[in-house]
Symmetry: C2
Subunit: 211 residues, 2 copies
């Protein structure tokens, strides 16, 4: 194929993309970056960010943070920015994982054997973020819950997951903890669902009858 | 929480990330953007890009393109850029889908009912890209194959998929076509596997015994 330095400008094809945290969250990063020692403190932040995110109009009611499993140092914070970026893959987990990898300068968040990193999310990841978490290098996943309540309350389609999803994580050296901050998480989903805002998954939640 | 315009600069947390196509691919975009009418022509391009990508050192032997299902117009091209971006989620499908969404200015590639878009990939997507495809708005998925040959030849862990993965796509209005350019795809994986280069999935392929 031909080589030309002008090709990328004449083809009309996009050559890159980017995602930014919303301005409201960028304005709170110093407060947000305080170390969080207990699982409950970590999930409290995640539930706060998830609730604020949909109300600000950036995307769905989802947030995720990457922390040092032992010290609670915050490595990154992410929210769902599908609407603000125009990119359907920019769920909270992908955003938080990517920002942690920017911060640490590595695609492998498990590269340092002395430091185990933990992803904290306000529900079980959708099938895309399930894989994104698996390939990220985090050693621990903490979620507020994993049942069908999320889809029922919010209207989101979370995709076809296997029954043994947690065992598959464990088999790859990633521990799974459920049930932290569950009531707060459910309240966020309920209020989002009742607000009748846009559910942006392209194919909608009408087709999960196979599951 | 406090609001300060300097927070994002003083917290130490990253506020954004980006991904770019490799320079070699940017230099070929005019040639690459020629419309491709048949499935075989589309996969020929994908297999070429996948083969070149790992040899150039940008990431794994994977490529994906988004095309107009009817006309073959190329909307975007993507390759796996995990190594060149330092971001573990930047698989070929996520890259191609994101670049198509940049080009069309929408997180929903199915927003125009008059125009069905198709994702062409050189094997069944991993579990992350399975979800990314599902949420993208494409109406068609074309893959060179879907069996265990990829993991066996390349050493990659593709993650825990359900047996009914294709039916789950169909239930959401996404058709699945397999077996286009299969021999060429397998040759790419075989040569990659024999070259003994870095397999970068953080947790490796040793733990798929549960599957």
């Amino acid at each position: 194929m031909t080589q030309s330095p002008d090709d990328s400008r004449t083809s009309g094809l996009a050559t890159g993309f980017s995602a930014q945290l919303p301005a409201w969250l960028q304005g709170e990063l110093t407060a947000v970056s305080t170390p969080r020692v207990t699982p409950e403190e970590r999930m409290e932040l995640v539930n706060y960010l998830a609730d604020r995110n949909w109300r600000e109009g950036n995307g769905g009611p989802f947030a995720a943070i990457v922390v040092d499993h032992v010290t609670g140092e915050v490595i990154s914070v992410g929210v769902n920015v599908v609407l603000s970026t125009g990119l359907s893959s920019m769920h909270a987990e992908v955003t938080a994982i990517s920002l942690a990898q920017v911060a640490l300068g590595s695609w492998d968040l498990g590269a340092d054997p002395e430091r185990e990193l933990e992803l904290v999310v306000n529900w079980r990841p959708c099938v895309m973020c399930y894989g994104s978490t698996m390939w990220s290098g985090v050693r621990h996943l903490v979620v507020a819950g994993s049942g069908p309540e999320l889809e029922r309350l919010s209207g989101f389609d979370e995709g076809p997951m296997r029954e043994d999803w947690a065992a598959q994580f464990e088999a790859r050296g990633i521990s799974v903890t459920e049930g932290v901050g569950r009531d707060d998480a459910l309240r966020v989903f309920r209020e989002y669902g009742e607000a009748d805002v846009l559910v942006y998954n392209a194919r909608g939640a009408g087709a999960i009858a196979l599951d």
